[in-house]
Amino acid sequence: MTEDLNDPWTALAQAAQNGDKRSYEKLLAEIALFVKKSIAGSLASPDWVEDITQEVLISVHKSLHTYSPDRAFKPWLMAIVQFRRTDFLRRHYAPSRQGGVTLDHPDFIAAHVTKPEYAGEYKDVERLIGALPRKQKDIFLKIRIQGHSIAEVASQMKMSESAVKVSLHRTLIRLRAQFEGHNERITP
C-alpha cells in the first residue's frame, strides 16, 4: 500500500485538487494512455477505446473531489474505468436488444424511401438531438448550431465553463455512439 501511495499519480492528483493546472493536465494525459492500454484488449473497436477513455477523463474530472490522497490513486481510477466501460457497453448493446430496424422494414421505408436524398439522415439527427435531456440539448444547440461561445452559454445558463464543456463533450460522445449504433442497425 505504501508503494501505491508513492505513485506519482497520487502526488499529481493531490496537486490537481489544490488547483495546479499543469499537474492536472499531466495527470489526465498519463491517465488517458493508461486507460487506453488497459481497455484496448477487451474492446472490439478502436473508436470505443477512444470514447471510453474520454468518458473516464470526464468522470475523473467530475469526481476528483471524492479522491482522498491518503489512499492509492490507481484503485480509485480503475473503479471508474470499469464502471464507465460497463456503462458504455450497456448503452451500446441496449438498443440492439430491443431489435433494430432493417432496410425492408415498413417503418424504414416510410421514413426514408419516399423522402428526398439525405432527408432521412437529417431526420435521424434531429430525432437523436430531440431525445437528449433538455439541458444537454440547449447547450449543444447554442454552441454547435447557433455559434455561441462556451463562456456565453455558461453565463446564460448559470453554469461553470467547465460544466458546459463536460456537458458538450458528453453530448457529442452520446450522439456519435447513438448515430453509429443506428447506422449499424439499418445496415442489411
Binding site: A16, Q17, N18, G19, D20, K21, R22, Y24, E25, L28, A29, A32, D47, E50, T53, Q54, L57, I58, S59, H61, K62, S63, L64, H65, T66, Y67, S68, R71, A72, P75, W76, M78, A79, I80, Q82, F83, V125, S160, E161, S162, K165, V166, H169, L172, I173, L175, R176, F179, E180, N183
Partner: protein
C-alpha cells in the same frame, strides 16, 4: 457517419484549462457518523412528538427488547457507513464493510424465521387496517433521512449504484424499524414484518430499480 470532432488531447486541454477549486475531501466516516446521529435523533424526536408506545417504561427494562434495538442500531450504523463508503468510486478502500449489514440482516431474518418455526414467535398475516398508522409512521420517520441520504450519495460518485441502493434500503429499514418499535405498541412479528419493515423495503426496491439513474454522475 458523424465526423469525429473530438480528440482526447483537446478534451484534456479543455478540462485542465479551467480547473475548478476542489475542497479537500472530508473523511468518509466522520461525515457518516454525523449523519447517523442526525437521522437517529430525528427519528427519536419524531417518536417523542408523536408519542412513545404506552408500555415504553416496561419495555426499556425488557432485555429482549433492548437487545433487539441494539442489534438493529448496529445494523443501522454499519449500513449507513456502507452508504458513505459506496458513494466513493473505490469504496474508500473499505468495501468489506458492506458485507456486515448483509450478514446482520440475514441473521436477523433467520432468527425471526427460526423462532417462528419453533413456535416462540406466532407469525400471522395481519389485517391492513391494523397498520395504516405504522405505514404513515414509516413515511414520516424515513422520508427525510432517505432524501438527505440520497442527496449526499448523489454528490459522491458511486461505481456500485445497486449496492448503494441496497445499503440505503437497509439503513432506511433499520431506522424505521427502531422508530416504529418506540411508537407502536404491537409486538406481533406479522404486524412488524408487514407494517414496519415492508414499506421501507418497498421504498428500497423502488430505489434499486432507479439506482442507475438516481446515482448517475
Amino acid at each position: 457517419m458523424m465526423e469525429k470532432t473530438l480528440s482526447t488531447d483537446q478534451l484534456i486541454a479543455d478540462l485542465s484549462t479551467d480547473l475548478p477549486p476542489r475542497t479537500a475531501p472530508k473523511a468518509v466516516f466522520s461525515a457518516a457518523f454525523r449523519d447517523a446521529h442526525l437521522y437517529a435523533l430525528f427519528a427519536l424526536a419524531l417518536s417523542a412528538v408523536i408519542g412513545f408506545r404506552e408500555d415504553i417504561a416496561l419495555k426499556i427494562h425488557d432485555p429482549r427488547f433492548i437487545g433487539e434495538m441494539v442489534y438493529v442500531l448496529i445494523l443501522y450504523g454499519f449500513s449507513l457507513l456502507s452508504v458513505a463508503v459506496l458513494s466513493v468510486p473505490d469504496g474508500a478502500g473499505r468495501l468489506w464493510l458492506c458485507r456486515i449489514p448483509y450478514l446482520m440482516a440475514f441473521l436477523f431474518v433467520a432468527a425471526v424465521l427460526f423462532m417462528a418455526a419453533d413456535g416462540a414467535l406466532p407469525l400471522h398475516f395481519p389485517l391492513a387496517a391494523e397498520g395504516i398508522k405504522c405505514v404513515i409512521g414509516n413515511v414520516l420517520i424515513g422520508g427525510l433521512p432517505l432524501a438527505l441520504m440520497t442527496w449526499r450519495a448523489r454528490r459522491g460518485a458511486s461505481t456500485r449504484p445497486y449496492a448503494l441502493a441496497a445499503m440505503s434500503a437497509l439503513t432506511l429499514m433499520s431506522l424505521c424499524y427502531m422508530g416504529l418499535r418506540l411508537l407502536c405498541v404491537s409486538d406481533d412479528p406479522g404486524h412488524i414484518l408487514f407494517f414496519h419493515v415492508m414499506p421501507a423495503a418497498a421504498a428500497g426496491a423502488v430505489l434499486g430499480v432507479i439506482a442507475r439513474r438516481i446515482y448517475a454522475w
